[in-house]
Structures are given as C-alpha cells and as structure tokens.
C-alpha cells in the first residue's frame, strides 16, 4: 500500500504538521473566540486585562494582610502567579473538552485534530498577552530587579505553550472516549490551584522551620516547576536549574506519550465525539 495505515507514526506526525500549516484558520478562530466573548461590550478584550488587575490587587491586599507580608512583595507574586495559572488551567480544563466542544467541526471537516488544539493554545496565548499588560503596569508601581537574566522568560513562556499543546491533545483524546474524566479533571485543576504556590509564597514556607518539611512536598507538583521558570525571571528572582530540567523532562515525556496516543487513537476521535 502506498498510503501509511491509520495507526502509523507517519499519520500522527502528519496530523501535527498539517494542523500547523493551517495556522491562518486557527489563528483567525482563536482571535475570533476572544472577540466573541466580549462582543458588544465597549472595552472588548481589555476586560481580560481589567479583571486580572482587579483579582490580583484584591487578593494581593488580602494575602499581604493574612501572611503579614509587604504589599510590594505579595502583590507582584500573586499577579504573576495568576497570569501563569490562567494559562495553565485554561490549557488543562479547556483541553479536557477540546474535541467534545468541536464535535460539529470534526464531523463536518476533514481537518487534522491538532487544528483544534492549536486554536485552544493560541487563544490562551492571546489571553496571556492581554494579562501581561497588567504586569507591565505593575512594574511601574512596584519595580522589580530585572536584569539580562530576565530574558529567560521568553524560552520559559515558549515551553509553557509547548506543554499546553500536548496537555490539551492528550486530555482531549482521552476525555472524548471516557466522558467521566472531564469533570474529574475540572476538580483536579481546582485542587491544583491550592497545591501550587500562587497565593502562598514558596520561599517563605521553606524558611519557616515549622512547615519546611511539608513544603518540600510541593516539589512533586509538576506545575511548581512551570510556575518557577516563568515567575523567577519576571520578578527578577534567582533562577534554579532544577526547575528547567524538570520542565524539559516533562516536555519530552509528555509529547512522547501524546504522540503514541495520537498514533493509536487519532482516527478514532471522529467516531467517539
């Protein structure tokens, strides 16, 4: 046979490259998704920025009081944490229904599955870009000790997006087959919010002898490492190599597993949705 079979590695790779080639389509759709959400509002997508600012300021003030921290420490920490978290949780929770919500398109168009995933990740990237405006404003009020090493935020964000890709693709395929998983994943995402240092400052807990032992457990939370590689450069904090290593390992293992799953089940998704 001239054509590779439905379960070949070749077809899985073609799905990804074919999806990438259609970036005009998913790029347009992702942007449309965002405008759609704020259609007929005067400010439009600026609302993304505003709601992030409000959340970060309110929680920054609250937790600065609760933890007896200085606002100039707590607020930037929470803001950056929330910006990263919005991206991660968006990829996980929307990824867990990416093919289910696109049922109509999947049954009507012979497009690669990855088109829907690229659309989702790109939409999250656009959200992130809107949220970074708040970060820039914050820098004016609470300047951070940024330096050349802060440029590592660029590869860090790139890694974040690359990992968002496999997460959405893998979760999308699995939840399309097993519909119970979608609500389970939503609950796990909520739980992860509390287990990841977003409102609480990881460094503070490490320095507190009463909880330092338990705080170390958070190293097992993969999201910690993603948080740290993005947050440290944005706040001009010292960066640790171990976070980068963990993230790179997760990236490779995650994509390897996802491509294996894609090879095996890619052609089944149209039957399952």
């Amino acid at each position: 046979m001239a054509q590779p079979g439905a379960r070949s590695w070749r077809r899985a790779a073609d799905d990804l490259t074919g999806g990438w080639e259609q970036r005009q389509l998913w790029g347009h759709l992702a942007w449309q998704d965002i405008r759609q959400r704020y259609r007929r509002s005067v400010l439009g997508p600026i609302w993304i920025t505003i709601s992030m600012a409000v959340t970060a300021v309110a929680l920054g003030v609250l937790y600065a009081g609760l933890f007896h921290n200085d606002l100039s420490v707590q607020l930037p920490y929470i803001l950056v944490g929330f910006i990263i978290w919005a991206f991660i949780s968006g990829c996980i929770s929307e990824g867990s229904e990416v093919f289910i919500v696109n049922e109509g398109l999947i049954k009507q168009l012979p497009a690669p599955l990855s088109v829907h995933v690229f659309r989702l990740v790109w939409r999250q990237v656009l959200f992130l870009a809107h949220n970074l405006i708040v970060y820039v404003l914050m820098l004016v009020i609470f300047p951070q000790p940024l330096g050349w090493s802060s440029l590592t935020v660029i590869p860090a964000l790139l890694l974040l997006a690359i990992n968002g890709g496999w997460t959405a693709l893998l979760l999308g395929i699995v939840t399309t087959r097993f519909r119970d998983l979608a609500p389970i994943i939503q609950s796990i995402v909520q739980l992860l919010f509390f287990l990841t240092p977003i409102v609480w400052i990881y460094g503070d807990l490490q320095n507190n002898p009463a909880v330092a032992g338990r705080a170390r457990l958070v190293e097992f939370n993969p999201l910690l490492h993603f948080m740290e590689i993005v947050r440290a450069p944005l706040l001009g904090e010292p960066q640790h190599l171990r976070h980068w290593i963990v993230v790179l390992v997760i990236t490779f293992v995650g994509w390897a597993v996802t491509i294996a799953v894609l090879r095996r089940f890619r052609s089944r998704v149209a039957y399952w949705v």
Binding site: M1, A2, Q3, G5, A6, Q24, L25, H28, L29, Q32, R35, Q36, R39, G104, L105, I106, K107, Q108, L109, P110, R177, F178, R179, D180, L181, S267, A270, Y271, W272
Partner: protein, 255 residues
C-alpha cells in the same frame, strides 16, 4: 509501487472499507466499567461495546473527472459514505486513500458565527473549506454580487433571515476551487429565482471541481450534476453505474 506517477493527482480509492460505530451507552462510556472489566477477567463479552455497522465492504475507484450521484433511503449510509470519502471517518477495516484537497459541504452553515458580520463569515467559511485568506478576499466582491445582500454584509449574521443565510453560505461554497467536492443534499430551501441562479453557479463549481460526489433525493439535481451514480442500501453498494440506469433501478425497487 510508485505513488504519484501511475495515478492522477485527484482520486479516491477504497477497498473493502467498513465503518463501524461503537455505541457507548452511559455505562460503558465510563471509566468505572473499563477498570472493573480489566479486573474482572471473563466478563469480556458483557463489557464489549455494541457496534453499528454503518458501511460494509465499500470498494470504489473514483478519479479526476468523475461526477457521482448517491441515492438511497434515509439511513442507507449515504452521509456516512460521504464522510468516508471526505476522510472524516477513516475505515475501521479495509482501506481508503484520498488524494486531493477535499471540500465537504454537508451543512451549508458549518463554521458560520452569528455574532460576526457577513463579510467576516465569508472569510471564515472559506478558510474552513481549505482556501486562504487572500483567495477569499479576492472573491468577496463576486460573492457579494451573487448574494445580493448589499450593505447587509456589514451586519452580524444573527440579523439575517434563514433565506439570507443560505444565500451567503451558497455564495461562499460556490466560489471555491475544490479538487474533490463532496456535496450533501439540503440545498433546497432557497427561493425559486435564486435557485435558478445558484444552479448555474453550482454547475460551474462542479465544472471546476476535479471530482464530485453528490448525495440527493432530487432526481433532477442528480441528472443535472452527475453522470454516474451509486445506490446505497443497508450500508452496502447495491448498484453502481450510469446515472439513468441506477435511478431507474432505484425507482423500480421503490415502486
């Protein structure tokens, strides 16, 4: 076997292709059952998912220039066959090889967004049909003329009547340059004058397309656009051949 030389660029070849739909009911679609099934061991027959055999042993060779009509009762497998030929369903058993860019039109409105303007919808719908943004932008005037919607194209699609939406959708669909055109019926609900106009455009579209597969209940439409036909029954090809012959056999069997 060499791949591209001995066959023309546009073709659909299937051999003994079958399409089986697993039917997961609420219970078997849950993890619980699969996990329990793995633990249990010999209740495999109970955990097995029931399957609907929508298409059986479809062997077809369609090449550049073919215009194929599809007839058959509701539920005979026409739409599933179209989806197989479009590459949406890959055969569960057997093989299907599709060469060429497919433009499937099952539903005129798929990918249309009620909140964005008619003009924007033209672009999006075109992108969905495999066109580029540039190609669609160069065709906007032509589509606008055809739809006769005028200034309404600036309005969001939700303000359109059903007829206006169909005009817009037809305008976009008939403006593309597909290599393989897969058409499902449902192009009926347009007013008579407009229908005549769209027939001409539809015929031109079919002329441009390298390969057409068209499912319809309208003999007139089928005769206009196709020269051969397939009669589907119970997920199998009952008869294939010249259009008049197949239509006569199909009508005879109904008679």
């Amino acid at each position: 076997m060499s791949t591209s030389e001995d066959r023309p660029l546009v073709s659909i070849v299937t051999s003994d292709a079958c399409v089986d739909f697993p039917i997961f009911d609420a219970r078997s679609r849950s993890l619980k059952k699969t996990v329990m099934g793995m633990v249990g061991g010999n209740i495999a027959t109970e955990t097995k998912v029931p399957v609907i055999e929508a298409l059986r042993d479809i062997s077809l060779t369609l090449k550049h220039g073919d215009r194929v009509g599809l007839v058959g009762h509701n539920g005979a497998g026409k739409s599933t066959l179209l989806r197989l030929l479009a590459g949406i369903y890959e055969p569960t058993r057997g093989a299907a090889e599709i060469r060429g860019r497919v433009a499937p039109v099952f539903d005129l409105g798929v990918g249309m967004d009620p909140e964005i303007s008619g003009l924007e919808n033209i672009i999006v719908r075109g992108l969905f049909l495999g066109m580029t943004r540039k190609q669609m932008e160069s065709r906007i005037d032509d589509i606008a003329d055809f739809t006769e919607l005028g200034d309404f194209l600036e309005m969001p699609l939700r303000t359109y009547s059903t007829g206006m939406r169909i005009r817009l959708a037809l305008g976009v669909v008939t403006s593309i340059d597909p290599e393989i055109l897969i058409l499902d019926e449902g192009i009926g609900a347009v007013d008579a004058a407009f229908l005549n106009k769209s027939k001409k455009r539809l015929a031109e579209l079919v002329e441009r397309a390298g390969l057409l597969v068209f499912a319809s209940h309208s003999d007139e439409f089928l005769r206009d656009l196709c020269d051969t036909a397939l009669w589907m029954e119970h997920g199998r090809i009952r008869k294939a051949g010249e259009i008049e012959e197949v239509l006569a056999a199909y009508k005879g069997a109904q008679g």
